[in-house]
Symmetry: C2
Subunit: 96 residues, 2 copies
DNA sequence: TGAACATATGAACAACTGTTCATATATATA
DNA sequence: TATATATATGAACAGTTGTTCATATGTTCA
């Protein structure tokens, strides 16, 4: 079994917390294909803008999404290759 | 992008909740190699028996661990191939 | 049966989390 | 500058979660 720092598993738990909420995981899933603006995400998930912005901040702090501003609009996209793989594996699991 | 039932992402979030707590993820990690009794897990994680039992029940209900009784002792082990892969991917992510 | 040991479980409590509401900030344009 | 639009953020609140404590259940053996 691979050795690693004893804090690693705490960090792993922190990572998985991001995926442990259906709003955040649905946000991430909408970003699988392409970047989207905040308001586009709101429409897709049918949720209010404040709730989405709060969750986007959490995802950004965890470096799972990144954003860029274009005028008034802010576009978000996945910031990590692992995100796609981890969620895909989760989907695979529950679909069995 | 793969199509699936709209409830799937909610189920995925539920799945990841299991990995979103450091106690549970450390329990699962102790079971990577081999089955362990409840008291062995308590010693390894230096936590009291009640806390461990409560978390084991959560993991069992989610079908991530299984158990077998041998006299007074109950042994727990991983019940799902995906568990190993999902946690490994999480470890890989945070170690970069 | 009774004592000892291993594990499970319910209740209670503190800590944490996600959403809403109100409002602030940033940008574009008239 | 004033207004409209898009996004961000702080405070408050309800709901959820993990641990502890006390106790129950299950098993072995004397």
């Amino acid at each position: 079994m691979k050795k690693f720092n004893e804090n690693t598993l705490y960090d792993v738990a922190e990572l998985f917390k991001n995926f442990a909420d259906s709003t955040r995981i649905r946000i991430l899933y909408t970003l699988f294909n392409k970047e989207l603006s905040v308001s586009e995400i709101c429409e897709l998930l049918n949720m209010n803008q404040s709730a989405i912005s709060h969750q986007l901040r959490i995802l950004k702090n965890s470096k799972l999404v990144k954003n860029r501003r274009e005028g008034k609009t802010v576009y978000y996209s996945l910031d990590d290759d692992h995100v796609y793989n981890i969620i895909s594996q989760g989907i695979e699991h529950v679909e069995e």
